[in-house]
Amino acid sequence: MCLAIPAKVISVDGVSARVTVEDVEYTASLLLLDDVKPGDFIMLHAGFAIEKVDAAEAAETMQLLLDMEKNRPI
């Protein structure tokens, strides 16, 4: 139930946004999140944007994982 999924913001209208998850459109309330712009990824939970997905942090985590893959301890 605490699940949230990454959704891409396509437009913002006051306190709500239209977002897509794999081409399916949803409305996300922005009552709990400021400063959301088209192109951002947000975490969608029961109709609300609860947090942004930070692209730079995502890239860093992924790099760490990929490095681990490169240096496999075999």
Binding site: M1, L3, P6, L31, L32, F41, A46, G47, R72, P73
Partner: protein, 359 residues
């Protein structure tokens, strides 16, 4: 799907698994608190990728599962009051109460509607001014701010026929209660989306006082494997701390707007948990300032003492002490199609997850 598929690549997951086998030796028990994590572990078969010294146990983080029988019975009693519309998130209506379930009450004519977002309750209230809409508020710190936002919205829009029956709960007291009860846990995989709201400070006691590792994890397989690796490194080195694996979503300070809204509308209270009894300051009640939206203040009802289903060991499963296979009803009298206990109802309930992925 972006931020999903890349975390599911098999090679990546296997390389973390190998690293884990290389760095960990000690016997360790790691509890994943969140039902979403339990689901991911079984769905992706992660337990098979762990070295034999690492044991995962499931915790009390599925909101439907921990909703007390008393709350379910209260909801049932509300649904029978003429002129009331009950709104709720999906799974809750299938939880068997002491005598019946909301689903059965609905078949008997009660107006019970499943919603995706709490804001739909406000729309239903506006469209049915002659009725009273009672929203069954369940969920942890991830979901409670949504309910709080709806209450504030109702206030600003002067909606007078919307009420919340709150069973919202907070995570840290139950985590501490398990440790204090003596459940053997060396580290926690902490719930990613709860922490996205609360920030990490809520776990400081667990690391500093109880000397347990806490890693806040995302929900994809490589997220979870990486979180286990981070915990294993902490446990091997005897250096417990609070770390975030899920950095793309979770920040130390959490979501300050959501925290502010949550604290404005809700206050802590002692609360009942299924199978775990009453835990001090573990639940959220609506503050007096907003009592016009508090269902408990409006509809005073008396219900008989609730009884938990006979033979169901949900309480021990929620503590990580037993697995569903140890319940004599599992898969026989109790299945997702005809659940005996709440842990078999929700898709993220431990019993339902075991049932779905049993081999």
């Amino acid at each position: 799907m972006k931020y999903v598929d890349e975390y599911r690549k098999k090679d990546l997951i296997i390389s973390i698994s190998e690293k884990l086998k290389a760095v960990s030796e000690k016997e360790m028990v790691i509890m994943e608190v969140c039902g979403g994590h339990t689901m991911a572990i079984h769905r992706f078969g992660l337990a098979a990728l762990l070295p034999p010294n690492i044991h995962l146990i499931s915790g009390p983080g599925c909101p439907v599962c921990v909703s007390s029988q008393h709350f379910i019975d209260m909801a049932m009693a509300y649904s029978k009051i003429p002129g009331i519309i009950i709104t709720t998130y999906g799974d809750l209506i299938r939880v068997p109460g002491s005598s019946t379930s909301l689903e059965k009450e609905r078949a008997n004519g009660s107006d019970i509607r499943i919603i995706y977002s709490v804001l739909e309750s406000l729309e239903i209230a506006k469209m049915n001014p002659e009725k009273k809409v009672v929203f069954l508020g369940i969920g942890f710190e991830t979901t409670a701010p949504l309910t709080a936002a709806a209450v504030l919205q109702a206030k600003s829009e002067k909606i007078t026929n919307f009420y919340v029956l709150s069973a919202h709960k907070v995570m840290p007291p139950v985590m501490k209660a398990l440790v204090e009860e003596g459940v053997k846990i060396d580290g926690f995989i902490a719930p990613g989306h709860v922490t996205a709201i609360t920030g990490t400070a809520i776990y400081n006691d667990l690391a500093l006082v109880y000397k347990l590792g806490v890693v806040v994890a995302g929900f994809e397989p490589s997220d979870m494997m990486q979180a286990v690796l981070m915990l294993a490194v902490q446990i091997e080195s005897g250096n417990p701390k609070v770390e975030i694996q899920y950095q793309r979503v979770v920040h130390n300070e959490g979501n300050l707007i959501a925290q502010r809204i949550l604290n404005k509308v809700f206050d802590l209270r002692d609360d009942r948990w299924r199978g775990l009894g009453t835990i001090a300051q573990s639940g959220l009640k609506i503050r007096d300032e907003f009592s016009q939206f508090d269902a408990e203040k409006h509809f005073i009802i008396e219900i008989p003492e609730s009884t938990e289903p006979k033979g169901c060991i949900c309480g021990q499963i929620l503590r990580g002490l037993k697995t569903p296979a140890e319940c004599s009803l599992f898969g026989k009298k109790c299945t997702p199609a005809d659940p005996v206990g709440a842990c078999m109802v929700s898709g993220e309930g431990t019993c339902a997850t075991y049932y779905k992925y049993r081999s």
